[in-house]
Amino acid sequence: MLNDMIIGMAGSGGDGIVSAGDALISAAAREGYYAMLTKSFGSQIRGGESSCRLRVATTPVLNPGGTLDVAVVLNWEDFLRFGGELPVGTDTVVLYEKKTGVEPAAIPLKVQPGIVLAVPMADLAIKSAGTLQAKNNVVLGLLAGWFNLGREAILEGIRRKFAKKGAEVLQGNERAYAAGLAYADEHPLTRDMRLAPPVATGAKRRVTDGNEICAEAALFAGCKFFGGYPITPATEIMQYLQKDIWKHGGSLLQAEDEIAGIAAVVGASFAGKKAMTATSGPGFSLKSEVIGLASIAELPLVCVNVQRGGPSTGLPTKTEQADLFAAVFSAHGDTVRPVLAPIGVSDVFGVTVEAFNIAEAYQTPVIVLSDQEIAQRKDVIDPVDTTPFKLIERLKPTPEELAAGYNRFKITDSGVSPLSHPGMPGGSYLAAGIEHNEHGDPTSSGEMHERMNNKRLNKLNPLKTRDDLFILEGDIDAPLGVISWGGMAGAALEAVRTARAQGIPVKLLIPKLLYPIAESVYRDFFASLQRCVVVEQSHQGQLHRLIRMWVDVPRDFTSLARSGANPIPPAAIVQRLRVMAESLANHPATPAP
């Protein structure tokens, strides 16, 4: 019996592989499992090859994992196109369509897995349902039968899905499912690969994705305006919001481009409303000038960047973490803006709410770095408990302050000045991208510029002590350390748990606040370390460099980084930790000078 299982399937457009994945994850959720479903397509919009990976487990799933436990191959050409996305190992059970005509011993893989089964999927579909379209239900039957994957829940799902299509269609699909089940029962596996029963918690779990959660969180946080432009893989945030934001008294603009989108958001914020935009790399690059405007005009806004592979158009449908530098540094001049990143689907909720809170509290644009994986894969998550969240509203001038002669950019101890909005009598001021004095009048004085830069940068200092925006795991005294963030953090967490279970003395730090760099948090983390690795999915290892900018790092401070598309699997991180542990044993620390 397994507690954790990874299934990968690939076929061509008509094979229904992706809808089989959807059926499986729904069934898993209903039965009380946790799961994660990632889909991947060829470059065609419709048709072409498609694949999915489902990881299902009795405890929360942290990342899509590495090598498959089960591979389902509807045709070899399509399967092989996904390369590293569907890795097969010697322990993988490989099920493939018999009609492909390949002998089990001759399958076109670099490894020869222990269990390889040629299953007459098409034949079973035709025989049971009279149509090849039922093939994916045969596959569901096989998976349910061999791996104990929610027999009942899958059947319920089939019933719900085909209920409206008439008795004939429904029964055909039911029969196909039964045929798969029967085939599995008649051909027992040589190894017990059944999934352990779920650890029931009674909670009503749901299947959702990061983009949907982001939209929900924004509405929860009080977002009243969205301005943006479609772009993969961020579009769904707008698509979800345009359904619901009106009910909250808000509105939404699908703008003519990304610049207009964020400019409208700046306008809405100036008008006194919480506002956001969402985009991906190319759109983010376009927005940089207006982000600078929001910085100097000290107007709150949230800008979500759902990262995809770059540079430029890059790999629009694949994940990457290579927009960190752009998030922190794009836009000319001395601008500093908070950058946050969620570590998984359900974490998007809290991070988005936090982003709005920080934006309003400090009157600043805030960047949220999501990524394609988090945004578009489906996760089974526990319902979000919203009770711990407090909502922050921007500081407004009091009637006394307005009466005394309002100074929009008053230099205060905190650096935050009360912010009026049109409609407020006595609060009129000139907002501008031009440097200004406390009143808001344009200035070209170097002295005033220095003071205002100080105000704008120092007001963010309190963020640097927000250790609640970090996750720390492992022994405080461990000599080995891992740092990871965003979409890679789950794999790092899993790897660190595995490594610790193997006796490797390692601890983990996951910043959700990526910038400004919380120097003291890192210093504390580094205190015990002799070796540290930063795990992330960018070619340059961008967080690794960013930390060095601000903090003195352990002597052996390395990067485990790789370009996007295929995430780094936990096993690769464990492997690196093992090497670090060995080198530690061989070269004990030189005493601190």
Partner: protein, 289 residues
């Protein structure tokens, strides 16, 4: 035009006492060159706002970057001197976030029809209730005299030593093609006409556009200054133009750069529902569900 008092933004309702120009003139001293046409524009605007009667704090006044774009700072409205070319999108966000505000937008020919030109058709087809004023001086004033999109072909400027090779844009014809419901052209040399025109534009319920031939004394064509303009101008009203005839308006607009027509080219006699009204309706409908 319905002039709703602001209610959902915690603001006081409109002031009752009659307003004067003083209520709209700010303490900031304009830093335009002596003789710049923009002085006349801001004066006409003060007067129009007095006539409209909304208190300054219920007015949001948005501009881009340029000499002309400095205008919000010289008023007591909530001003926003944004970045070059983005005044219209910012203004749309403001109006959508708070439809109760009176939202004015202003800028130069470069700001509006060069870098900002991509936003104009979309602002117009969305038809939010905004008034957009362009101070068209056929030059980049703030950056000291380069060719602007309305610089006539052949003109020598600091960036076209041998003469511009490009046909100029035609702001009037463009916005008519974009479907604007109110399109007019005025001159600071005709203060009375300009004031009325701005007032009418603000009162028009929907997107309105006023192109102002506002001369640049420092870098502009010496033959395109106030006096010459005053002599050259032809009032559309005097020509008997029917401002509800859109095709005729487009035909007249073709003369931009040749004839100096002033007045209302086009005003939709049956203004359609505005975008802000549609938004409110959608909010109400979905909230009722």
């Amino acid at each position: 035009m319905s002039v709703p008092s602001t209610t959902d933004c915690g603001c006081a309702p409109s002031a009752a006492a009659p307003l004067t120009i003083k209520d709209f003139r700010s303490d900031l001293k304009p830093i335009w060159c002596p003789g710049c046409g923009d002085y006349g524009v801001v004066t006409a605007l003060y007067r129009a706002l007095v006539n409209i009667g909304r208190p300054a704090h219920e007015v949001a006044f948005i501009s881009g970057i340029g000499c002309s774009s400095r205008i919000p700072g010289y008023t007591t409205a909530y001003g926003f001197n944004t970045v070059h070319g983005r005044a219209l999108p910012v203004a749309q966000g403001i109006k959508m976030a708070n439809p109760d505000l009176l939202v004015l937008v202003a800028g130069g020919d470069g700001d509006g029809f060069s870098i900002g030109g991509g936003h104009v058709p979309h602002a117009i087809r969305r038809n939010l209730d905004l008034t957009y004023i362009v101070m068209d001086n056929h030059i980049y004033g703030l950056t000291k005299g380069q060719m602007s999109p309305t610089t006539p072909r052949g003109a020598k400027t600091n960036s076209t030593t041998y003469g511009s090779l490009e046909e100029p844009v035609n702001p009037l014809l463009y916005v008519l093609a974009y479907g604007a419901g109110f399109v007019a052209q005025g001159l600071p040399a005709d203060m009375e006409g300009l004031t009325k025109m701005i007032e009418a534009a603000i009162r028009y319920p929907g997107f309105s556009f006023v192109n102002i031939q506002s001369p640049c004394v420092t870098f502009g064509d010496p033959n395109d200054q106030m006096k010459v303009q005053k002599a050259k101008m032809k009032k559309l009203a005097d020509l008997g133009h029917d401002p509800t005839n859109r095709l005729r308006a487009m035909d007249l607009a073709q003369a931009y750069g040749t004839e100096l027509y002033t007045g209302i080219f086009y005003q939709n006699p049956t203004p359609p529902e505005t975008y802000d009204q549609m938004i409110r309706a959608r909010q109400a409908e979905l909230q009722a569900k």
